[in-house]
Symmetry: C2
Subunit: 209 residues, 2 copies
Amino acid sequence: MLVEKNIREFIEVLASKEPVPGGGGAAALAGAIGNALGSMVGNLTVGKEKYKDVEQEIIKILEEEKKLQEELLSLIDEDAQVFSEVAKAYKLPKNTDEEKRKKEEALNNALKNACQVPIKIMEKSLEALKLQRRLAEIGSKLAISDVGVGALILKAAVLSGYLNVIINLNGIKDEEFVKKTNEYTEKMCREAEKLADEAYKIVMEKLKG
Amino acid sequence: MLVEKNIREFIEVLASKEPVPGGGGAAALAGAIGNALGSMVGNLTVGKEKYKDVEQEIIKILEEEKKLQEELLSLIDEDAQVFSEVAKAYKLPKNTDEEKRKKEEALNNALKNACQVPIKIMEKSLEALKLQRRLAEIGSKLAISDVGVGALILKAAVLSGYLNVIINLNGIKDEEFVKKTNEYTEKMCREAEKLADEAYKIVMEKLKG
């Protein structure tokens, strides 16, 4: 499992020409890092007299982030798995018409399946970004730079997931599926940019004000 | 050492209220991830007949990225170390005028020192981003989405480093130092945004065109 590798090993295999981890795994890890910074800020805020009024809300945020953390970590390895299926389909023979038809079908299915992982990376990172946006308002001011870092990295995670969706969509021959998936994921990108920019603005005001 | 922790452990301790790793270590790791994706793209490009003309340039890029990888990984632990020094200075007593003076001096020095790590994170991530910008033009088109992911994450790393610089600068009583550091690091942010946006544009054209 990729998540059991230590940081140095993970970076080394990412840097190599090994097929996995690649951009998808990197996006999922970025999502996990940004989300973890939200948890850190939450954990530094609860139990503090100054933030008693928002304690219950932050406890709820922490619970959601704990779930997101597990999901984003799992997606690092899920991405590697679906990528292997795509690679397998690419290697199928295409000498006869029958083989060509079978290969195209296998490839189409593997790519559609492979799309789902970066879509999930986008969804989970976007959820984490919504929580981060709220933490910019109610989290401990002592950790305000960490909220900002989390928001920046989560935005990168959502947009990175999108690039991985697009490269898979390019190989899929199903116009309706491609159109719908494109619209859905583009919308998530715009939402992520809006949330991250709002969070960043609040962070900078608190940092510089 | 933080880089010896496995991915899951690192994310768990990042999410906790433990003082380190925090936003600085997260920024350095983001830089290492983005830079590693550049190496991956380089490694997938060299040796390919189609990219023979740029092979020598890519070999040079790979050498630079290898150095940057070591530096960015080291910065994860360096950030933790300077942060401990700051925490130590904050805990100094301030009962007498003499103690107050000594504490302010110790804090000023620790914070100036702590600034240097996120500045280095910014510098190294910016260098990696310049290489990524070039890989958008000359790297293997098969890995073009990975170039884009690398650029997005490296931009986040530079801007995240900046937030860590600012939060340290806020505690430093040395107007000249604060002004100079602010100008220098703000300039790096603008450059990172420009490079990443250019790289992203090239990536999208190649992905969608």
